[in-house]
């Protein structure tokens, strides 16, 4: 069952990502971004990472994409003043860079060899929470400092007069 669902959601994720980078209007890109994020959440469920799948839907699709859509509607660039896209050379360079990266990961992924551990509960709320609040407590606390800095920075930047 897993291979079929993997192919399905993987294809949706890749197709959505391609649509995100090729659409002209950013609103269309944002909606395709939701599609990609949801299918990546489905892939997390396939890997038994239920906690991260929930966080993916709540934080990414629920908060970050809404933030994007707010900003798109707030600055509201009219259709005829959207940036004229780059020349073909630059697009070709982008595609070549992407192709080389994908080729490299494909070659490396084929040689991936690590013995599988016996099936363990690795992605549930309980397991992740225990790791987060014991082994990685310091990193977790520093993350909250990062978020505080981001909040203060965003408010300061968005003020009319700094």
């Amino acid at each position: 069952m897993e291979p079929i669902l993997f192919m399905l959601f993987g294809a949706i994720a890749v197709g959505g990502a391609i649509m995100v980078v090729t659409r002209k209007h950013p609103m269309a890109s944002a909606l395709y971004l939701i599609l990609t994020l949801f299918s990546v959440a489905a892939l997390f469920v396939l890997r038994q990472a239920h906690f991260l799948a929930a966080i993916q839907v709540i934080v990414y699709a629920g908060a970050i994409v809404v933030l994007f859509i707010f900003v798109i509607m707030l600055i509201n660039v009219p259709e005829n003043r959207l940036p004229v896209e780059r020349a073909t050379v630059m697009r070709l360079l982008g595609v070549i860079a992407a192709g080389l990266l994908i080729l490299e990961t494909a070659l490396l992924a084929r040689r991936f060899a690590m013995p599988a551990a016996p099936a363990a509960d690795s992605g549930s709320v309980q397991a992740v929470g225990r790791a987060l609040f014991t082994d990685y407590l310091l990193a977790f606390e520093i993350t909250s400092v990062l978020l505080l800095a981001a909040v203060i920075g965003a408010i300061t930047l968005a003020k009319k007069k700094i």
Binding site: V20, R47, P83, A106, A117, S122, T143, L157
Partner: protein
Amino acid sequence: MMEPSAYLLLSGILFGIGVAGVVARKNALIVIMSVEIMLNGVNVAFIAVGSHLGDPTGSVFAFMVMTVAAAEAAVGLAILIAIFRLKETVDITELSVLKW
């Protein structure tokens, strides 16, 4: 459960698409969205290998990546709004004040 190779390949494909978006697009909003796709591709790799090894560390790292992505989106979009107020554009090639 499947071997993680396929997931690693998918993660590379998502990352590559994000790189193409960052290199080839001019609209700053779409560039930030491409960065989000890249971060998501990395998360796929973390989760796949983490569950293969039966270790919650993969999930913890993906959690940290998501936090950084949220902070980056908030600050990036705030900068974008400030720039748009000043210059009335979202075209990244016109924002070259810091370029020598």
